[in-house]
Amino acid sequence: MTDPLLSLRGISKSYGQIHANQGIDLDVAPRSIHAILGENGAGKSTLMKLIYGVEQPDDGTAIWEGEPLSLASPAQARRKGIGMVFQHFSLFETLTVVENIRLVVKGRTADLTERIRTLGRDFGLEVDPLAPVHALSVGERQRVEIIRCLMTNPKLLILDEPTSVLPPQSVDKLFDTLRRLRDGGVSILFISHKLEEIRAICDHATILRGGRVTGNVDPRDHDAHDLACMMIGRDMPDPMPALPLSGGEKRLEIIGLDHQPDDPFAVRLSNISLSVRAGEILGIAGISGNGQSELASLISGEAVLPREQRDRIYMMGKDVGTLGAAARRQRGFAFVPEDRLGRGAVPEMSLVLNSLLTAHPLGLLRHGLVDRASARALTNECIRQYDVRTSGPEAEAGALSGGNLQKFIVGREIMLSPKLLFVAQPTWGVDIGAATAIRRRLITLRNEGMAILVISEELEELFELCDAIQVLHHGRLSPPLATRDTRPEEIGRYMMGAHSSPEKAVA
């Protein structure tokens, strides 16, 4: 075997009581695409921050091209030839592509423009250097980020969950780019928890669990099931089969909804129509920022339609467009919002008090006073049934990990036994075991006759859960597509706006 490009030995990092990384050994070979695989909270991000110099390890040594490496800052890392593309882009939207790149790379604008074009041709990263960033699609922005890293001629490129923001078509293009980069002599550290992608592109995978390395494999020799087992440390539950549709009554119906939010930066919704029946799961696909949060708050009642807009939103057969959140909940509506802290739960309050937030109608009040014993009992029940890992019902919501808090909120809303359940991003930041449990639960509830609406960025999740999918793009909703007869690529076309608007298909 050739000498590794980067070699880590015994790297450890703790934050207070939490051991994010413990004794990590990692060898990245030259010219390889190396996957770092792990659940949320397994320590992937911490490890990457240590390699990129954002944080310093408590212990351990790093060898880079045969020399000891110690990094105090990302700038040092870049000088050594380590580049990183973060999950969330850091581009100025009002500047053009080349202006953004000039902020970090020295050189004349004309030369840089030429270099951007050359890199684009060589690696399949086509993007117009003179276009302003706000006019670019997500895929193009990601290309700008990658180009910006490539400008410094890195030998190692770290990509943090690069596919989570892309529609399927763009993923293939990204993979093509990564292969070309590898053949051009760059090693790539590819962070992901999507198993099929890793099998498709990576030569080597290092699996992390609970801050430790639990496996070093060639992902092409293992199937997704094996990899998942290594990642979560136990066998994965099988997905639930959905029963065929029964054609129940309409529990949610939106008819030709147009809405211009007060916030000038919010997305305008136009001509939204959908309906969810009892015993059905409808999924709304699309990349975040296309109107999901605006639509969600109109359905939940956190935003209310003006009085003139009648007959737009029906729940359980009643026009609820002008009613507030409490009135809609009284009719049998429950909602799991995409942000948990500060919206789905009050971080500074205990879980007992957080149960009270929406579950107070379940007999938790007596003459206007809080019945603490009942609230405690309900909270304990929720913790037990939904496997919430916490020190107890008196723990503050803010002290729970994202996944556990999500399990708690999902549990609380399901315990209300609503007629219509609306879940936004059900498994964001939730580990794979818990995510599967949540999805199984949703399908069980559907089979029992609940109407469920799901908004998600993860297409795989929607395909596993939903009877039908509609795609939200630029505030417009596609017609419903029956999941059984639809391929992900078709959804992808809607996600890029190929169907809904005449503008060119970008990304």
Partner: protein, 366 residues
């Protein structure tokens, strides 16, 4: 890139959990620090610090008479602070308790001013009730504009306090001036039945102290046990969670301001119908503002506020003593109050956060 100088400065890092001991210790530590600082100040002023401490912090407890004055002073502070604290927990910042206090005093005075001959035991309870209504009414102006136009309640309530003071001036210089009062800006002396009955004979402590304690108990039940109080706290801690659960924000603003105004108005009524016995220009010595300090010093907790109100009353009475016996300037009490609040806010910051010094980057040995 070289290391920036800012990297040598410590940063505040949020603690994972605020310990109960630290929370309880913060007020006494703040009091100690403020005391020491102010003693230093008195030394610089050339006063004898021991005499000041004696006059300020000990004398109020040394005789029954002076302690009864502390109780008399504590009652309005406690009442106003309990009302304000409820609003503050809901993040509705009513800074205009002073104006609501004045309106309470004016409303209560209407009866003895207009019906100076009336007799009967119904007069003083009706005056207290009117006072509470007056305070609530004044606060409702702030609530209305906040809910209707999103006008900042801090500014509106604060400025309305100035309006209230002018209203009081107008009444005392004009229609409500005592005709036999030698042109002094004050109302007639109230008749006997317009006075709140004395609770402890030989002192000026009256029945309003009991009302205040009852209000404190009610505030405790409301904030710690009731669902309505819970909703207000959710609105204060996480407004978006309140919106998510469907708690009405406008209603929370109205309720918070009305409770605060009601309590301050009641305190104002009890003041004119108690120790003063007439409507004067100097009915309030900044109770409405001092109560803000009392509320925060008590950790916005009904029980804590009882202690902080007593402490603040001791400072008032003791400050007066020190002015006489230790020749302390009149501003000294305010300086003490201000430094106490400052010390407390700093202490609270350290209960929730800790300082983290930047560690030198770990260098691996080659």
């Amino acid at each position: 890139m070289s290391v920036l100088p800012a990297a040598f400065l410590p940063t505040l890092v949020r603690r994972e959990r605020a310990s109960l001991a630290a929370t309880l210790l913060a007020p006494p530590i703040a009091l100690a620090v403020a005391t020491i600082l102010n003693l230093g100040l008195y030394v610089l002023l050339g006063r004898d610090p021991i005499a000041v401490v004696h006059a300020m912090l000990l004398e109020p407890f040394l005789s029954w008479t002076s302690f009864s004055e502390v109780l008399l002073k504590a009652a309005p502070l406690l009442l106003i602070a309990q009302g304000l604290a409820i609003g503050f927990r809901a993040k509705v910042f009513n800074i205009g308790a002073e104006g609501q206090f004045i309106l309470g005093a004016i409303f209560a005075s209407a009866i003895p001013v207009w019906f100076p001959q009336a007799t009967g035991q119904w007069i003083w309870p009706l005056m207290l009730l009117l006072g509470a209504l007056g305070g609530g009414l004044w606060a409702s102006l702030t609530a209305f504009w906040r809910v209707r136009l999103n006008a900042n309640e801090i500014l509106v309530s604060l400025m309305l306090s100035l309006v209230a003071a002018q209203l009081l001036n107008y009444l005392l210089l004009g229609p409500w001036k005592d005709p036999n009062g030698f042109n002094f800006p004050q109302s007639v002396m109230f008749q006997y039945d317009a006075m709140v009955p004395i609770l402890i004979s030989g002192t000026r402590v009256n029945v309003s102290l009991l009302l205040t304690l009852a209000f404190s108990a009610a505030a405790w039940v409301f904030m710690q046990k009731s669902f309505t109080g819970y909703k207000l706290q959710v609105g204060g801690l996480a407004p978006r969670a309140a919106g998510y659960a469907g708690f009405n924000e406008g209603w929370a603003i109205w309720l918070s301001l009305l409770i605060g105004g009601f309590a301050a108005g009641l305190a104002g009524a009890a003041e004119v119908a108690g120790p003063l016995g007439q409507l004067q220009r100097s009915i309030s010595t900044g109770y409405g503002y001092a109560a803000i300090i009392v509320a925060y010093l008590g950790g916005l907790h009904p029980l804590g506020i009882v202690f902080s109100a007593l402490l603040m009353a001791v400072l008032y009475i003791g400050g007066d003593n020190a002015m006489v016996s230790a020749n302390l300037p009149i501003a000294a009490v305010r300086v003490f109050q201000g430094s106490l609040l400052l010390a407390y806010l700093i202490a609270v910051a350290f209960v929730r956060h800790r300082l983290e010094w930047p560690r030198a980057a770990v260098r691996s040995q080659s």
